[in-house]
């Protein structure tokens, strides 16, 4: 790239030597223009083009299209696409199904997020003791994460099978009544949350494990010399060091749990009696079973508003990068 662009001056904020942007790197400057070689390299947009086009087509366009759709009465059968203003939103806010499924989503998020963080932490702390069998522990805790939702639901609904399932057989052996794991309205959501913890806790476990391995060993050595016992070291060194990563894991987990669909759809299809149906399933049902695309889009955007709150929190730390 030897094209001269002496006439073009780079906007000051975009200069690569801007200390805020790239600390400690000034780059080689040419005597002729006083600009870094990097600034004279104008082919960047070619590199960004494929990603920009894909993002535009499959993210930006559907976002705008969906927004427009939410103001129409468009249906999947192709009829009607008149602009009907805020009618869909008005309907959504007075639709008890929206509130109910939204509540199921939040309830699932609470039920799953807490154990998904706590159990992951306990697992990581136990494995990080360096006790023998490292390979086995990692494998057992993380392997379920590699299973697809259809396998997870097949395995767990077999465990939950009434009467002949493993859990009911054990309960019978203990002289206990069988439980309607997936068929009792008071139990189903707990069963689904338990399956989810089993399935995805390995991911958070690995994040915690990586964070633990990042704690400098000197701190432990110093504490040992000072006579701090194992528990003392856990509470004064290990846990305080994990505060930041715990924040990140919690936010990531909240975002993931709010988007629940797969395992609920496959295990109970939202039942019994719609008692576990999450909002994404309501969107799916409205759009693809009842063909009301406009209304389904409106519900999507109501849901998006909820997610946005958490997504913004997630972005806060990385804003510096921009």
């Amino acid at each position: 790239m030897t094209v001269s662009n002496a006439g073009v001056t780079a906007p000051p904020g975009r200069a690569p030597s801007d200390p805020k942007r790239s600390p400690g790197r000034s780059g080689t400057r040419t005597a002729a223009t006083g600009k870094s070689l990097r600034e004279r390299d104008k082919s960047g947009y070619l590199f960004v083009a494929p990603f920009a086009v894909a993002t535009g087509l499959f993210l930006l366009l559907p976002t705008l299209y969906g927004l427009w759709m939410s103001f129409t009465n468009q249906s999947l059968t192709g009829t009607g696409s008149e602009f009907i203003g805020f009618a869909n939103y008005a309907e959504a806010f007075s639709d008890p199904q929206v509130w109910q499924t939204l509540w199921h989503t939040v309830w699932f998020t609470v039920l799953s997020t807490i154990p998904l963080v706590v159990v992951a932490l306990v697992m990581a702390l136990l494995v990080h003791t360096g006790l023998p069998g490292q390979w086995v522990w990692r494998m057992s805790f993380f392997a379920p994460y590699l299973l697809t939702s259809a396998v997870v639901s097949a395995l767990s609904s077999w465990l939950f099978q009434p009467d002949i399932g493993l859990l009911d057989t054990w309960f019978a052996a203990l002289g206990l009544q069988p439980v309607g794991w997936l068929t009792d309205e008071n139990v189903a959501m707990f069963s689904i949350a338990a399956v989810t913890v089993w399935w995805t806790v390995g991911f958070n476990f690995l994040l915690y494990l990586a964070a633990l391995q990042g704690i400098p060993q000197q701190q432990y050595e110093a504490a040992t010399i000072d006579g701090a016992g194992g528990w003392r070291r856990l509470f004064s060194i290990t846990l305080p060091q994990l505060r930041t990563i715990t924040g990140v894991i919690v936010v990531l987990q909240l975002l993931a749990s709010l988007k629940v669909f797969d395992q609920i759809y496959l295990l109970t299809a939202g039942g019994p009696n719609g008692s576990t149906r999450p909002i994404l399933e309501y969107v799916y049902d409205t759009g693809f079973t009842n063909y009301r695309l406009g209304y389904a889009s409106a519900i999507s955007y109501v849901f998006f508003a909820l997610i946005l709150v958490f997504a913004l929190v997630r972005l806060l730390p990385s804003r510096k990068e921009a």
């Binding site: 070689l37 969107v283 955007y301």
Partner: protein, 303 residues
């Protein structure tokens, strides 16, 4: 490196690891044998609990269908059999779905890594008009959950004629703004003197990207690829929406339709679950270290 050397290398590494682990045990739980035994017991219980569903599924899959429907027993009285596997492999599209999943996840991974790395390189090491605006847009799009786009995206696929095609399954999955930022952060650390030296030697931007930036970033590229592959392999919602023809279904979607067709054939259900679970589990056993590292470095979303 010869096989003998490789084995010796592995052995010394394992020895090193054992020594490190012993030191770690001393540092974290100290000399108390009781805490050590209690921790080990907790690990055993947790691991058993975590392996239980898969173990139970595996046992069931080797039973006769008639016995699978009897109250649960770990040791079948009618003997072990491969019947369920034979049935599933000959009577369902399982192998087709597996192949589809492999193609889809492979394409998603390849395209995602390629376009994300290119964009990250552009953001990190070049200057062009509108760069800040595009970067800002990319960050904003991290917040956009793909799940809420299913309705307009499906309509769009209908218009584009991509329903029931691999392109329709793959393309919407290749937009991964988070990965762009993970890669950008890595590329930022490449010394600009290195790139400038190549530029002075007359290397074009493509050469810079292919021969310097990518080879230097192999570890992070592998990490991102692993992460994207697992996600694509397991993705359910989008392939479920965009495919209706069993010939184009991916494994998760196809399996979910089988469940209803088979009704009460538990052994066969478990056999297909086992077959479906196998590929990624084998890959994990082979590349455990890399996968653990890859998930840990990319899982935080670049934070």
């Amino acid at each position: 490196m010869s096989v003998a050397e490789l084995v010796a290398d592995r052995r010394t590494r394992a020895q090193q690891e054992r020594a490190e682990n012993r030191a770690l045990t001393k540092l974290t739980i100290g000399p108390s044998p009781w805490v050590r035994v209690a921790s080990l017991a907790a690990l055993v219980v947790l691991a058993a609990l975590w392996l239980l569903p898969v173990a139970w599924g595996a046992v069931t899959s080797f039973k006769h269908e008639a016995e699978a429907a009897l109250p649960a027993s770990w040791w079948p009285t009618m003997g072990w059999t491969l019947d369920a596997y034979q049935q599933v492999l000959s009577n369902s599209d399982l192998l087709i779905w597996m192949w589809n999943s492999l193609v889809v996840a492979g394409l998603v991974t390849l395209l995602t890594v390629l376009i994300s790395a290119m964009a990250a390189f552009a953001f990190s090491q070049t200057v062009f008009k509108g760069r800040s605006l595009l970067q800002w847009l990319t960050i904003a799009s991290i917040m956009m959950p793909g799940q809420i786009l299913i309705v307009p995206l499906f309509r769009q696929m209908q218009v584009m004629g991509l329903v029931d095609t691999f392109a329709g399954i793959v393309l919407p999955q290749i937009v991964a703004p988070v990965m762009v930022f993970i890669l950008k952060r890595f590329f930022d650390a490449i010394p600009s003197e290195l790139l400038d030296a190549a530029r002075i030697d007359g290397a074009g931007t493509w050469r810079l990207f292919w021969t310097i930036v990518l080879p230097l970033s192999r570890s992070i590229l592998v990490a991102v690829a692993i992460f994207v592959f697992i996600g694509a392999w397991n993705n359910f919602l989008w392939p479920f929406i965009v495919t209706t023809d069993p010939q184009f279904m991916t494994l998760p979607v196809g399996l979910s339709t089988v469940k209803n067709a088979y009704g009460v054939q538990y052994a066969q259900n478990m056999a297909s679950a086992m077959i479906a679970a196998l590929p990624l589990l084998i890959v994990f056993m082979l590349f455990q270290r890399r996968i653990v590292q890859g998930v840990a470095t990319t899982g935080m979303g670049g934070q």
